[in-house]
Symmetry: C2
Subunit: 159 residues, 2 copies
Amino acid sequence: MEMPVRVSRDFAKTYPYASASATECAMNLARTGDLVLGRVALALQPLGVTPAGGLVLGILKDAGRPCPPNYISERLIVSRATVTGVLDTLVKRGLVHREPHPTDRRMVLVHLTKSGARMADAVRNTVHSSEAEWMRPLSERERAQLTELLGKIQKNLVP
Amino acid sequence: MEMPVRVSRDFAKTYPYASASATECAMNLARTGDLVLGRVALALQPLGVTPAGGLVLGILKDAGRPCPPNYISERLIVSRATVTGVLDTLVKRGLVHREPHPTDRRMVLVHLTKSGARMADAVRNTVHSSEAEWMRPLSERERAQLTELLGKIQKNLVP
DNA sequence: CGAAAGTGGTTAGGGGCCAGACTATCTGGT
DNA sequence: ACCAGATAGTCTGGCCCCTAACCACTTTCG
């Protein structure tokens, strides 16, 4: 497969209303993002934790105190239903446990266990050292450029 | 949320072995890729087809003839088991049907139905016109830069 | 020829993600 | 005090994705 992915030679003729450069950006963005996510999953596999689980542990660790699932869902930019599922698997692995909120009985507080806290550190270390590896072919200048370009797209996409 | 996503001020102190620029690239890559995929799903929703299903229809359309699932799985860079599932939902929607291979009895050939072929076109049109929208904030020069940078990362990630 | 190795598709089981529905609980305004 | 609306967490049912195991069929090779 070509890298980066390119549109076919007659793209402009087949899709006159489209933009070849935009399509190439979108395809390569999706592809590279997917590759990176796959690599994260691979790097975390030996730790016995999934990317989603690792992110949740990091959020709890950063907060420095037990948090309700709703807080996690906002940070992760993911639905509350999804957080319920991720927490279930973290509980199964003994990295986290749920306790009722002392005053608001609608809520639950998610606590990091000892091994959950250790795992949060291990995840950060693993992921951050992998990232340096992945981005090696880019100079500092190119990395700054890439981040800027991605930021522009995000601003346009998020509103 | 900041865009692009930035690492905290004391990142270098907390993770001395890591690279802040690499981490920012990775975070924004994952985030932007995810945003784009979400937008694709959103754009396709009115058509009643999912991104994975849309890609399969496109592969069949491009091939111009019935294809075995294995071929689709290689093109999609996805496991055969996943293709089985995606085909099941396409069959349910009447966009595709399976026929036994005439000579090799291990295989199946996936045929586009009439409405599947129409859907393949609709998907392409919808996605390509959305892409132009998403990339609007980038000049032609910036788009070329972005594609090049992503290509470098891919080359480093794939082997 | 006939067994071993390879290939193609599916199934089973584990996650992750979502929308929508449901329950329990809080809060605000009358 | 009370009820309507907001909020928190969960469950259901879909879809996507993976690995491993399985079965049927082909190919290869002694």
